[in-house]
């Protein structure tokens, strides 16, 4: 298997603008069951044979969807996430970049105690190679296999996956968790799933400057992880106090540097790629033990 997403997943698209349509097609072409879209007020119509519903709850009722992918622009994105959770969607993938942090604080609180898992926001999405992709990543660079990938970034994840595939190493599931300060699922949440997944043999983690998620993950790995994990941390050369593209990528008060994250990961026994060109070879080394 894989984690979270498979060929059985049934996906609803929230936010059917140009971007939503483009990627609905891309995901459908990859083989994902893109069975519904939500556009309030347009319920009962369809787009390229995909039925449109007024609400997520309607899409659940009529199409049995269990995954939602959100492209709704920032002002309405938090609302879209909460609507999906209320409708009982098991996996919510929010691609939208630029959601106010205060909105995400509310979303986080709203999701407490609910069974929904949120991936993102501000992420490329999730793919189980050969089965389904939900998001904006290029499907063809992936290869079905037994390595899990968890990343805060978009194109850097493609770089990583590309290197793995070139070396003949396939992936079980690849997840972009997002570059915002508040995200639905973090490294630890997903490491836990990969740890329990019989079809994943090892994990590659792509982190970056800002926050302490990688340091916390290092401690968790040391205490719990039964499988090899290798990592790369972007931003060794990033200056303090500057936001490096992602809303969450900032060294503040001397905290959240690449050096401190790398030190924590190495102290936990992980192999850390010295440069982004060594991602594939570092994973190979980690798998050999």
């Amino acid at each position: 298997m894989s984690i979270l997403l498979s060929s059985k997943s049934r996906v609803v698209t929230q936010g059917l603008g140009a971007t939503g349509k483009f990627h609905l097609k891309g995901c459908r072409d990859y083989g994902t069951q893109m069975v519904a879209a939500v556009r309030p007020g347009k319920g009962g119509t369809s787009w390229e044979d995909t039925p449109i519903y007024d609400t997520v709850a309607d899409a659940v009722k009529h199409q049995g969807v269990d995954v939602s992918v959100i492209y709704v622009p920032p002002p309405g994105a938090a609302d879209a996430i909460m609507e999906a959770a209320e409708a009982g969607i098991a996996l919510i993938v929010c691609i939208t970049e630029g959601i106010p942090a205060a909105d995400m604080v509310k979303v986080q609180r709203y999701l407490e105690g609910k069974p929904s898992r949120l991936i993102g926001p501000n992420c490329p999405g999730i793919i189980t190679p050969g089965q389904a992709k939900v998001g904006i990543m290029p499907g063809y660079i992936h290869k079905p296999g037994r390595i899990g990938v968890i990343s805060k970034s978009g194109t850097l994840t493609y770089e990583c996956v590309h290197q793995l595939t070139q070396l003949g190493i396939g992936q079980s599931t690849c997840i972009g968790i997002g570059g915002d300060p508040i995200i639905g699922s973090g490294f630890i949440d997903l490491l836990r799933l990969f740890n329990d997944d019989p079809d994943t043999d090892g994990v590659f983690m792509l982190g970056e400057i800002g926050g302490a998620a990688e340091v916390d993950a290092a401690a968790w790995i040391k205490a719990n992880m039964k499988k090899p994990v290798a990592a790369f941390i972007a931003g060794k050369t990033a200056p303090a106090g500057k936001r490096m593209g992602h809303a969450g990528a900032i060294i503040s008060g001397g905290k959240g540097t690449a050096a401190e994250k790398i030190a924590a990961l190495e102290a936990a026994g992980l192999k850390v790629a010295p440069s982004p060109a060594d991602i594939g070879s570092t994973l190979v080394a980690a798998m050999k033990g």
Partner: protein
């Protein structure tokens, strides 16, 4: 987005937070008049720049002096103290206020946070002095680890709070706010009690803390720091300083906050880049970088460094990387005279490499790139992309992968330097 102290204080005052009476001036004469009108025996004249450490900083006339003071006295802890006057002065008459303002306005203020170039002071805040009983620390911020707003208070006011947290963590009191119900009175009381406040004063402190929290939430701040928060000798609370930063993602719903932007405090190139939806940050090296995606852009800087070079900038042209965006990015990157080579690192995912290559070729023709250009393309339709680059007639060095590109860029920059 950051604002000046005087702007932050004006916003806080709207929420009932007490701040010293005062006004901002752009000329020394006006500063003198403000001091006279305040009628206070003691006034404080404060340089307004978007950087901390103003009091301990130094006023200088030239950039060379700024760099010297920065490296000799301010850059890190333990350096000898400088003998110059700083950007915050206590004055005892309107004439002294005028004199102080004259020695600050139009000059450069260099502090630990400004970097070696310092910052030109264009505005000055003149305030009444206050009768300080004790100095405390208060801040509201986003706690990324739990996705909630947190409030921190400490009796160690006026000090570097990171240092306090490291050396005497017991002096920091912290409350995490449940967004469903907001900041509760018992939490505010707990903070006040931690600061040693007793019965009859508790209510006033609770109100003050709650006003600060309301301002933070209402205005979509990302940081609100009051250091020092002063308890006067007669027991009232005053925000003596205010550092307010806003969540850029939420500015769309705060027109009044957007108006407070001071473009002089921002890097002109970063501002220009933002207009074209590019993310650019200037660095000190000589290899210009152009990359699609923030994570890959950071990784590209790292790999240049790994191969012995130094990146001149961070530049994310976004997943799309259209001809217009690439052309703008070229202009901004090449405006930096220290750039001796440019490394373009593109992973074409959804965007096809042939389209990206076309964009790069057109943009470099438009802009007339004179320095060596190293390009690494990978992803969809990469062969066609490479063919377009090869057939362009431009002097472009192609790279097989990221490491190859970094090596070639480092060599090209070294040869040109």
């Amino acid at each position: 987005m950051n604002v000046h102290e005087y702007q932050g204080k004006a916003l806080l005052a709207r929420y009932g937070v007490r701040v010293p009476r005062g006004e901002v001036a752009t000329t020394a004469e006006k500063a003198g008049e403000i001091a006279r009108d305040l009628g206070s025996a003691v006034c404080v004249v404060k340089a307004q720049i978007h950087a901390g450490g103003r009091g301990a900083g130094a006023m200088v006339d030239t950039e060379a002096e700024a760099a010297a003071v920065f490296h000799d006295n301010l850059e890190r802890e333990g350096l000898p103290k400088h003998a110059r006057k700083g950007g915050v002065r206590v004055v005892k008459s309107p004439a002294e206020a005028l004199e102080a303002a004259r020695s600050i306005l139009g000059k450069l203020l260099v502090t630990r946070q400004t970097g070696a170039s310092g910052r030109e002071v264009r505005r000055i805040l003149v305030e009444e002095g206050c009768d300080i009983g004790r100095e405390l620390y208060l801040s509201v911020l986003l706690d990324r680890s739990c996705g909630r707003v947190a409030i921190m208070a400490s009796p160690a006011g006026g000090m570097d709070i990171e240092k306090v947290a490291e050396e005497t963590p017991e002096k920091i009191f912290r409350e995490s706010i449940d967004p469903a119900v907001g900041f509760q009175a018992f939490q505010a009381r707990r903070l006040a009690l931690g600061l040693g406040v007793r019965e009859e004063k508790l209510d006033e402190w609770v109100k003050f803390f709650q006003a600060i929290y309301t301002a933070y939430v209402d205005l979509d701040c990302s940081l609100l720091e009051i250091n020092p928060l002063v308890e006067t000798k007669d027991g009232s609370l005053i925000a003596l300083d205010a550092k307010v930063s806003f969540d850029d993602n939420a500015l769309y719903r705060h027109a009044d906050v957007r108006e407070l932007r001071d473009e002089h405090e921002e890097d002109p190139k970063e501002r220009q880049a933002a207009k074209f939806d590019l993310s650019y940050i200037a660095l000190n090296g000589n290899i210009g970088c152009m990359v699609n995606g923030a994570g890959l852009a950071m990784a590209t800087m790292d790999i240049i460094h790994h191969h012995g070079g130094a990146p001149a900038n961070f530049c994310d042209v976004g997943g799309g990387a259209t001809t217009e965006k690439v052309a703008e990015a070229f202009k901004i990157i090449l405006a930096d005279a220290s750039v001796k080579a440019v490394f373009i690192n593109i992973f074409g995912g959804i965007m096809r490499c042939d389209v990206l290559a076309q964009g790069v070729v057109e943009a470099s023709k438009q802009v007339g790139v004179k320095v060596p250009l190293v390009i690494r393309l990978e992803g969809t339709n990469v062969e066609e992309g490479r063919r377009i680059i090869g057939a362009s007639g431009l002097n472009i060095i192609t790279a097989a992968d990221m490491a190859d590109g970094a090596r070639k860029a480092v060599e090209a920059a070294a040869a040109a330097a």
